[in-house]
């Protein structure tokens, strides 16, 4: 791919992503013109308040409900996709993702326990949910790695993925048990297991945004190592990459990205698996492009799925996890098999 061709693809992707984000904010039971939308955004950023000609209620709907929700969906989609891209490279397995490795389920269980048991640590105050998500997500993947090394001495990546999937199912079972035993929280937990961006506000975005920035910078700094790790641990070691250290740092970063995202929105599968694959088909496998473009594509796809989840059967809301799978699966299959057929 030429530099010019890559630049054009990036520009088109950025415009498409911006278009989807604006669409996700504007569409719904209440509609707003572009001029008023940018007026509201400008008013809040400059501190001038609601612009002339815009009703305060409209300002409230778009600034406090629609925008943070769309931004949150974008950040979560981006964070999960970056994490998925990294896991696939490190484990040299196209089926690896935070979801299949049990990070998402673990994080979800942590957040659920905080909600049910009403655990609160004063020092953490508003960060309790993301903290629990990160710790439980990380704990799940650490348990998966420990079990793998106990079963398979060579710690093969296939065994890691298989154990991760088994753990993920086990933790999901625990979540089901928790929801059955806690009738008061049952509905909340079931929705949690299917994912939702309902009632997510700027305060959640304010926590997730720096996490995304930290995760993005760390993964970009590791992008060349990830390229080398894509060829397997032995070759990576021979080429000068400390495979074990790289995996530990990457798993920490991915657990942070996934744990915090899932703690706010519940489990949303598929996006972390599919978005990096679509990006690789368009931009190639080099991670200095795969990481940023996975963030953009994953974010845009999640924002689109959330838009569909809240508007398709309005006023009812479809769980966003169901939408990501229903749209993503056939789209992923099309992209994957179309390029295979072209190559054949």
């Amino acid at each position: 791919m030429t530099k010019k061709g890559t630049g054009l693809k990036i520009a088109i992707s950025a415009v498409l992503c911006l278009f989807i984000l604006v669409l996700a904010i504007r569409q719904g039971s209440v509609y707003i013109s572009l001029k008023d939308l940018f007026g509201i955004i400008g008013g809040h950023i400059t501190g001038k308040g609601t612009p002339d000609g815009v009703e305060p209620m409209m300002d409230s709907i778009f600034w406090t409900i629609r925008m943070p929700r769309a931004v949150m969906a974008f950040l979560v989609g981006g964070a999960l996709s970056m994490s998925g891209a990294c896991m696939q490279a490190l484990l040299q397995n196209p089926l690896a993702s935070s979801y299949t490795l049990g990070v998402s389920s673990g994080a979800s269980l942590g957040a659920a326990l905080v909600l049910i048991l009403e655990i609160s640590i004063p020092v953490l105050s508003g960060f309790m949910l993301p903290f629990a998500g990160f710790v439980f997500g990380l704990a799940t993947v650490v348990i998966a790695l420990m079990l793998t090394s106990a079963i398979d001495r060579s710690v093969s990546n296939t065994t890691v993925v298989l154990i991760g999937m088994v753990l993920s199912l086990f933790v999901n079972g625990m979540m089901n048990l928790l929801s059955t035993l806690n009738a008061d929280h049952s509905k909340q937990l079931i929705l949690w297991m299917m994912g939702s961006f309902s009632a997510r506000g700027w305060k959640h975005c304010a926590i997730l945004f720096p996490v995304c920035v930290i995760g993005f910078v760390c993964l970009m700094l590791m992008s060349r190592k990830m390229d080398i790790m894509s060829f397997g641990d032995l070759q990576a070691q021979a080429m000068g990459v400390d495979a074990k250290k790289t995996k530990i740092v990457a798993i920490l970063v991915c657990s942070l990205l996934t744990g915090v995202s899932v703690a706010f929105t519940g489990v949303i599968g598929f996006i972390d698996l599919a978005a990096p694959h679509v990006v690789r088909k368009i931009f190639g496998p080099s991670h200095k492009l795969v990481i940023p473009m996975s963030f953009i594509y994953g974010g845009a796809f999640m924002a689109l799925c959330d838009l569909i989840s809240r508007t398709l059967l309005s006023p009812r809301e479809i769980p966003v996890g169901a939408v990501t799978a229903l749209i993503g699966a056939p789209f992923f299959a099309y992209v994957f098999f179309a390029s295979r057929r072209k190559r054949a």
Partner: protein
């Protein structure tokens, strides 16, 4: 610069593959590692590359290999493993450029011009410069083998360890591989004489590429000397437990 192995034993878990090995490989040597399947050839290359823990000592230029950082070790030794899996279809050019990681040390993937130039030279040496925009999953087994050899050259280390580099290559490329390895060992690409340590199952390739043979049997060195003596039928019968005189080509 030399590699010195003293009283080295190594293996996987509780099974010991190599037992009490003593070996010294000097700068500019071309060493063939021979032995039957499971005799410990690959393990020996991995230990000398610092990829497997061991008992005893393995030093490169006086420094214990297991105490070196991976990047530091990769600057001294490049290893082309026996099996090469491809999970993501990088282009040939991207793949060869990854070989410059240890020497160029750039974080975000942009290697200095000198590294790019050297990688291009390595592609030319391995006859893959015309394939540089092709993806790895579009290549034949032999082409892939040559790309991975170019990537190993691009690492620009004075010690080159090759584990069955002739795999998947047809007879023409096998012969060419020997010529390229001889050119590389003479330092015509990098400008400094290099050391070659290689495992071959094709003994004719070993004869053409190497001047010294180290023969292993059951994890022990049973012969260390010139290639002509190492490949004599009586030695091969001892190494392989097989009447090699009944097999054509020996």
């Amino acid at each position: 610069m030399k590699i010195v192995v003293k009283g080295m034993s190594a293996g996987y878990g509780s099974s010991e593959i190599l037992k009490d090995i003593d070996l010294e490989i000097g700068s500019g040597e071309k060493v063939f590692i021979g032995g039957s399947n499971g005799s410990g050839k690959t393990t020996l290359l991995k230990v000398m590359s610092g990829l497997i823990s061991h008992k005893g000592t393995v030093t490169v230029d006086g420094k214990e290999i297991s105490k070196m950082k991976r990047k530091e070790a990769a600057k001294l030794i490049s290893l082309m493993p026996q099996t090469s899996e491809v999970y993501f279809p990088y282009t040939v050019r991207e793949t060869v450029m990854l070989g410059t990681y240890a020497s160029s040390g750039s974080i975000l993937g942009g290697a200095p011009a000198s590294a790019v130039e050297y990688a291009v030279k390595c592609m030319e040496d391995c006859g893959v410069e015309d394939l540089q925009d092709r993806h790895l999953d579009e290549l034949s087994g032999g082409q892939l083998q040559r790309v991975l050899l170019a990537r190993t050259f691009a690492q620009k280390s004075p010690f080159l360890f090759l584990d069955e580099p002739g795999n998947n290559l047809d007879i023409k490329y096998r012969a060419e591989l020997c010529d390229k390895l001889n050119v590389w060992a003479a330092g015509e690409t990098s400008g400094i004489p290099n050391t070659l340590v290689a495992i071959f199952h094709d003994l004719e390739q070993a004869r053409r590429c190497c001047t010294r043979a180290v023969m292993l049997k059951d994890g022990k060195v049973i012969f260390d000397g010139c290639i002509a003596d190492g490949l004599k039928p009586e030695m091969l019968i001892k190494v392989y437990d097989f009447d090699v005189t009944s097999y054509s080509g020996v």
